[in-house]
Symmetry: C2
Subunit: 198 residues, 2 copies
């Protein structure tokens, strides 16, 4: 009789979460190539074959690590357009403030995104899809702010969407390099606030 | 009699440049840990000890690679404040256009900057110093534009400096991830132009 897949039992699910939590700092600090499956397994008291029972390969573990921690970070953060009275910029400031409290996750994102500029990197497609999703969502939100008469009517929402995502990435990089000495929210506001009308 | 240091002869200098040119794609594509000194040496027809005669360690080679290619890229790009009739934003658009033609160098910068968020990384101090230098230079330039009545007087030049550097980094990352399909200059203009007065 075939054994049930590891993730279908409560114990299996708890084990997977343990592995995904140990994998985050490993990939964030050492990148995809540098991270060691054996060390991650050891961290949670598994053998390497034991870990590979839950995740079939290092590439699969990386993709699930990105997906799991993204989900965890943004749960409840996205609301349908028009259900908030806030300007979209204010919601970005709230996300940035949350990121300042979670340097491990933003380090995972920036280190792996930079590595993924290599088209052969196992997370390349994941990041291409992520930026496309962000671009579409941000464009819709900026267009809604424009429709409500809040945002400069001359700005192209699609270009602003790409720029705002870039601004977040770059400020997070400076925040990490300075070991938290420089914040993300102040320069983000300096750039975005002037685009809004009082 | 002590042998002259390798860099003091014309042949030695030419050899160093060959190594620094081979090191750029190696570090950009594989990061500090992933890059192989032996492979770089092989690329230019040197043995590993032969390469280490020119650069005493992998860390030293990385730092000289960053420094050499930065110098090469920006030579002539920086002018003293007030000697140009251009808005600083226009000079940033010109730098961004140049970066679009040199993806190897911007990939080196973004991959190594992301890795260097680790305080123990050999390029950590180099990147901290680089961002500080950029922040000071950009602040001065934006303040000059403000003084000339070109830039929104309510924007803090120091915060705008950090934001503009971040915007460039993030847009370069998107440019690389899209393999050049999305440009850097258009969203940069979308974000910066509205801060300037007509």
């Amino acid at each position: 009789m075939a054994r049930a897949p590891a993730a279908t039992t409560a114990k299996g699910r708890a084990r997977r979460v343990q592995v995904l939590n140990a994998a985050l700092p490993a990939f964030a600090e050492q990148g995809y190539r540098g991270a060691s499956i054996a060390a991650i397994a050891d961290e949670v008291g598994l053998s390497e074959p034991g870990l590979l029972h839950h995740f079939p390969s290092k590439a699969a573990l990386l993709l699930e690590t990105l997906e799991y921690h993204q989900e965890r970070t943004y749960v409840g953060a996205s609301r349908p357009v028009g259900t908030s009275t806030l300007r979209f910029a204010d919601r970005l400031y709230a996300v940035a403030a949350r990121h300042e409290r979670d340097p491990g996750f933003i380090r995972l994102l920036i280190v792996l995104a930079a590595e993924s500029t290599d088209p052969c990197h196992p997370a390349h497609e994941w990041f291409v899809a992520r930026y496309e999703r962000v671009r579409v969502a941000f464009t819709r939100q900026f267009a809604a702010d424009q429709g409500a008469g809040l945002l400069d009517p001359e700005v192209d929402p699609a270009q602003l969407a790409r720029a705002a995502a870039a601004l977040m990435d770059g400020l997070q990089l400076q925040f990490l390099l300075s070991e938290g000495a420089t914040d993300i929210v102040t320069p983000l506001r300096a750039m975005l606030d002037p685009l809004y009308r009082d």
